[in-house]
């Protein structure tokens, strides 16, 4: 893609790129170039399905995306603050390490796969296989909060981290699909409302919130509200239930030596 295709404007530490019709490799190359030049805030306009935005970027740059970014937004990233003023597609925050992604809309499948840190906020619904194998270590605890509902396999294989589902929005379908927390062996899932036992994976149980949990949920709700600009004040931590694994070694007895 020729230079002219990417119209860019850089004033001081802020820059704007017109992404319409630009191939992802070109677009991401430009974003990297701007970051290398010391740019602290980048606005991408006219984004329409470009993949891999901010992948592997280890800088605390702010990226505002106007339009729908493609798959693997923020994969392996370690630090950026991304705001999407639209829906997002699959694999957002794939194996992400640090930073924050705020999606003002719905997002697709496999969000936060293997996520190791940072936060992913989605105001709408999320798809299937969200939060699979998130993990945490000491103070590095990844968090996903979704304002809507989730599909099947929410929190599968989870080894650490926090998932929060608010279940807002139209319709009366269940807040999450089946196989909730299957193979889960660490971390916690907080959901507003209830789920039937048949939806639960075999490795998790439902617990009531302790004082500590309520504080955690209240703090995340406050942050979620501040970031998304949506009023969640009517949501109370008391409405939540908690899913946790009852064993750190769910498959420990499966083998004979």
């Amino acid at each position: 893609m020729a230079d002219a295709a990417v119209k860019k404007k850089m004033e001081g530490e802020a820059a704007e790129l017109d992404a319409a019709g630009v191939h992802y490799r070109e677009l991401n190359g430009r974003v990297r170039e701007l970051i290398d030049k010391g740019c602290k805030e980048i606005v991408l306009n006219g984004v329409n399905g470009q993949r891999y935005i901010a992948d592997g970027i280890a800088s605390e740059v702010k990226i505002v995306i106007n339009g729908v970014p493609g798959n693997d937004l923020g994969a392996f990233m370690s630090g950026p603050h991304i705001i999407v003023n639209d829906n997002a597609q699959d694999c957002v925050g794939n194996t992400m390490n640090a930073g924050k992604i705020i999606i003002k809309g719905h997002a697709g499948d496999v969000l936060g796969y293997g996520m190791r840190g940072g936060k992913l906020f989605v105001t709408g619904d999320v798809g299937y296989r969200v939060g699979i194998h998130m993990k945490s270590y000491k103070k590095q605890v990844p968090v996903i909060v979704a304002g809507g509902r989730a599909g099947d396999f929410f929190g599968e294989y989870m080894a650490g981290g926090i998932l929060v589902l608010l279940g807002m929005g139209e319709g009366d379908r269940p807040i999450a699909g089946s196989y909730l927390g299957t193979g889960m062996h660490g971390g916690a899932i907080y959901m507003r409302g209830s789920v039937s036992d048949s939806q639960l994976g075999r490795e998790v149980r439902v617990f009531d919130l302790e004082e500590e949990d309520r504080k955690l949920v209240a703090g995340l709700l406050e942050e979620f509200q501040a970031d998304t600009g949506i009023d969640y004040s009517k949501i109370k931590p008391a409405e939540f239930m908690k899913l946790c694994p009852f064993s750190h070694r769910p498959y420990g007895n499966m083998y004979v030596y």
Binding site: I132, H133, S136, R249
Partner: protein, 501 residues
């Protein structure tokens, strides 16, 4: 209640005339076989025949023999079948095992013979003439572009751009930190650097201390995504997506909680003592298109470093490999069903997958037929035991081979197949600090360097006998192989003629 019905596999005998009660055997045994009550006693039921005690007994007072207990012979009910049934009747679990399959499946390498020059074309003496083993891994251009400089001298332009340069076509296969000890990783990294080749991290991340070896490391990204972050992805010369492993195609991995100590916990980012669970598939890869997505995500995150895709060799491997090449991979790593593992259910290890030799031949042929062989390099692994196997694998179509088990044997491994217990007395497949300390990384590195250097010398000797002076000329050169004792179907698949033709 009756105890176990399974007789001991081995018998440990201490010669009390020779034993001077130094207790070295007690300290050395990772499995707790020995004890001392007025004299050294041995609990044979715990012995795995790893020989650590035998090697370290200053008086040669210990002998280990196979339990001679007679079983009524039966041609279909072997002793191992009976033992497996007793074990499962006592426990209700899957039988876990380590290393590659020990069943006597046909080994194709043992039925292939290498050609040599006689009279009509001269052989080459590698001691007198240069012999090229240098190998480049990665995508090669569809055609070589020639540039002519001012003096009229032609040279190839960018033919191995963005490739990994190896001084010998042998790399160390992925063995994860967690499965093996940090000292094992250290030995492999030091050796890879000295040899001008690469070691593969396996799926457990890379300890920070080994980041300086970045020019000799391939980092792996597997389904559990352990230790995967942007700095790690850039801590090597390439990234490998591990889809499958020869010892356990199609299943995930469970690194037992016993092996998750503080350091492993920090590198993998999971709590101490939990099982490290690798899901069977990558949950962001359910198709070739999804694989392409991850390949390019990794390229974007690493400034377009080569990406390798490791698969276990299964029935439809040729079509899968074609898909992988078309998905944008630069290297395809074929791990045959004889490949090793730190832990696998025995039923999977022993009965799933196909031999690497056959997979290699069909993948090489298929990519040639499709005109895309130059898009990818092929690494063959899973049962490479000697330089002869290396030469045969390269003649069947590999660009390079991966060695895992052979490297561990060089470090002292006795193939006791108990890696999953974490009790390895040789300090290899363990995280117990007192055992890990036994493996001196520099000592280990020297042995690995010796081994690979020996094989490289032997490879040069083989090339000389073949009358060729570069490993490149042996690649896919199946005309220089002949089969002995293979049936016609296998020969047809291998595209290798029978001996005598």
């Amino acid at each position: 209640m009756q105890g176990s019905l399974i007789p001991n596999e081995f018998v440990v005998d201490v010669d009390h005339q020779r034993c001077r009660r130094c207790k070295r055997c007690i300290l050395n045994c990772g499995f707790g076989v020995f004890d001392f009550q007025s004299m050294t006693t041995a609990d044979s039921s715990k012995c795995v025949a790893c020989h650590r005690c035998v090697m370290f007994c200053p008086e040669d007072a210990i002998t280990i023999t196979r339990n001679p207990l007679a079983f009524k012979e039966h041609s279909s009910w072997g002793i191992d079948s009976r033992k497996a049934i007793w074990k499962q009747a006592e426990s209700s679990g899957m039988i876990l095992t380590g290393m590659g399959t020990d069943l006597p499946w046909l080994n194709v390498f043992d039925h292939l013979l290498i050609d040599a020059c006689q009279v009509t074309n001269p052989s080459i003496d590698p001691l007198r003439e240069p012999m090229e083993l240098r190998t480049y891994l990665g995508r090669k251009p569809d055609k070589v572009e020639i540039e002519v400089d001012d003096k009229g001298k032609p040279r190839a332009v960018n033919s191995v751009e963005n490739n990994i340069k190896l001084e010998t076509p042998i790399i160390f296969s992925g063995m994860s930190y967690g499965s093996v000890s940090l000292n094992t990783h250290r030995a492999l990294a030091i050796a890879a650097q000295r040899l001008g080749t690469v070691m593969n991290t396996g799926e457990g991340g890379l300890h920070r201390e080994l980041y300086p070896y970045k020019d000799n490391i391939i980092v792996q990204c597997a389904s559990g995504r352990f230790g995967v972050h942007s700095e790690y992805l850039n801590a090597g010369v390439a990234v490998e997506i591990k889809i499958g492993q020869g010892a356990k195609p199609g299943i995930g991995g469970h690194l037992p909680g016993e092996k998750i100590g503080l350091e492993v916990s920090g590198t993998r980012m999971i709590p101490v003592g939990t099982d490290a669970l690798s899901p069977a598939p990558h949950h962001d890869i359910y198709s070739i298109e999804d694989l392409r997505q991850l390949i390019y995500a990794l390229k974007e995150a690493t400034g377009y470093k080569p990406v390798s895709v490791k698969i276990a060799t299964v029935h439809n491997v040729a079509a899968i490999a074609s898909g992988i090449a078309r998905a944008g991979a630069d290297i395809i790593y074929l791990d045959g069903f004889r490949g090793g593992t730190g832990a696998s259910p025995a039923v999977i290890r022993d009965h799933v997958g196909i031999p690497m030799e056959i997979a290699l031949a069909v993948v090489d042929s298929r990519l040639r037929q499709e005109g895309i062989r130059n898009w990818v390099s092929i690494i063959a692994a899973g049962g490479i035991r000697s330089s002869a196997d290396v030469a045969k694998a390269i003649a069947l179509g590999a660009d390079a081979v991966g060695v895992g088990t052979a490297a561990l044997i060089a470090l002292g491994c006795r193939l006791c197949q108990k890696c999953y217990t974490g009790n390895c007395s040789w300090g290899i497949a363990t995280q117990r600090p007192e055992l890990v300390d036994r493996l001196d990384p520099d000592w280990g590195a020297e042995r690995l360097v010796n081994l690979i250097n020996s094989w490289s010398l032997e490879l040069k000797e083989i090339l000389g006998a073949l009358g060729i002076n570069a490993i490149e000329s042996l690649r896919g050169n199946r005309e220089r192989l002949r089969a002995l004792g293979l049936d016609s179907t296998v020969m047809e698949i291998l595209e290798v003629k029978p001996a005598g033709v």
